[in-house]
Symmetry: C2
Subunit: 266 residues, 2 copies
């Protein structure tokens, strides 16, 4: 039992799902990630995964992020939360049957937002999990909002919140690109990747990260990076790396160097 500062590992929805197919899961990626987690056998780790082709299309269809406006959204909210629990269940299945002591924490059961920002968060189960050597696993979710009725709580907001609340050692952001570029590497072969950015540098180039996957109700890379800033300002370094590459998750958990963009306070 240890109470060292935890690492927060984000696994992007675009990594574990197929964004081109509604409810399309990248099972071979999930299997590989579970193998790597088993091999790395990390302690003091909190995992947060995204929604990808599960949460985003349903949330978008019913405008869940915008809050409660009409009766028909009610079933849309229920569906959004449900498909996220299904994705989480698939991910947890891969972990549990490998003997990884992972326990899912349902954001909508323990958190409420106010105008989209976390307002209250019951963190005692997570504290207890970490103390006992479990790996808490959270995810972007449809949650209740004191002003909007409901909204979407992105995995990225959760990552930053948890990093600050638990005074994390570091944040590891696994995405489907190698790091942060000065242009979109999917469109522009001249795009250059940053190995390291200070907060000051990050704020200057942030505009370039606007390009995102086809469907991401939580705002894509630009939002992902904005969410990180308060945690980095608090002195928690964040590494953006490519989690679709074999062994990268294993290596970052072991503290080995991988290609990626390290964001530090200064």
């Amino acid at each position: 039992m240890s109470q060292a500062r935890p690492t927060i590992l984000k696994i992007g929805g675009s990594v574990i799902t197929d964004k081109n197919t509604e409810l399309g899961v990248q099972m071979e990626v999930i299997t590989r990630i579970a193998d790597e987690l088993q091999e790395a056998n990390p302690r003091n780790l909190i995992i947060v995964h995204g929604g990808g082709s599960f949460g985003h299309p349903v949330a978008q269809k019913h405008a869940i992020k915008e809050g409660f406006k009409e009766e028909q959204q009610i079933i849309g909210f229920a569906e959004t939360h449900h498909v996220m629990t299904v994705l989480n269940g698939i991910f947890m299945d891969a972990l549990i049957w490998r003997g990884i002591p992972a326990v899912s924490i349902t954001p909508s059961s323990c958190a409420m937002t106010r105008n989209g920002r976390i307002q209250c968060f019951e963190d005692s189960p997570i504290k207890q999990l970490l103390k006992m050597g479990f790996i808490p696993v959270l995810y972007g979710d449809a949650v209740f909002d004191t002003e909007l009725g409901f909204t979407i709580l992105s995995g990225d907001q959760l990552v930053s919140f948890l990093a600050m609340r638990f005074n994390a050692k570091n944040i590891l952001i696994g995405v489907d690109v190698d790091g942060l570029y000065n242009a979109d590497p999917k469109d522009n072969p001249e795009a250059k990747m940053f190995d390291r950015l200070t907060l000051e540098e990050l704020k200057k180039v942030k505009g370039f990260f606007g390009g995102s996957s086809a469907c991401d109700v939580t705002g894509g890379m630009a939002n992902k990076i904005s969410e990180l800033i308060p945690a980095v300002e608090q002195g928690i370094p964040a590494l953006v790396f490519n989690a679709t590459k074999p062994k990268y998750i294993y290596k970052v958990l072991k503290g080995d160097k991988v290609k990626g963009t390290l964001i530090e306070k200064e």
Copy 2:
């Protein structure tokens, strides 16, 4: 949006799972119950389901209820929680795709016990769900305990707790027998069912309800009934009825009379 007193419906694990097969689900029963819920279209309802062949065998194998004693239990706790989320997912699936606005609430994410009794419970998501017309769905779960490390929170304790916390109108306990008997009807053809019991009468005959299904870590019928007592004492009537019988759930939700045992304060 209504804030009337809710009804708490318990659906026993023995109703929706096959207690003779580990991880055996009674899919046709779940489908029928979902049809009945859709037809009844209830408002102000909280559902709690049990663990049956999902939660109980895993919890028993790893002695989760007894609390944390050795390292090997860690994966056992993770497994117990996981199989419960799987059962809940199957149940939710049947509800959601029928357009029933049901939202799962994960007990281990929002509640902690102290020596097995609920000590803290973050109830704001459930309040918001009821206010907006959703049906919260909870279940017996492996939860964290401030004294024991972890334990099992039975669906029955949850039912009574929620009934009192939300000042429920009534409690409906769906099990796989017709009601409470003066002897076990599965062994004794002479056993007589009670149509109605006052608390005073109940306390006198409670000893008879000890006989339970093959594997129930939460203590079977005797414990189910003990858990109900504080809520009934508070004036909330509880009906024990057979949820394996077609249309019974529909009828009890509509307020129609069905065979069963009604427990009232006096």
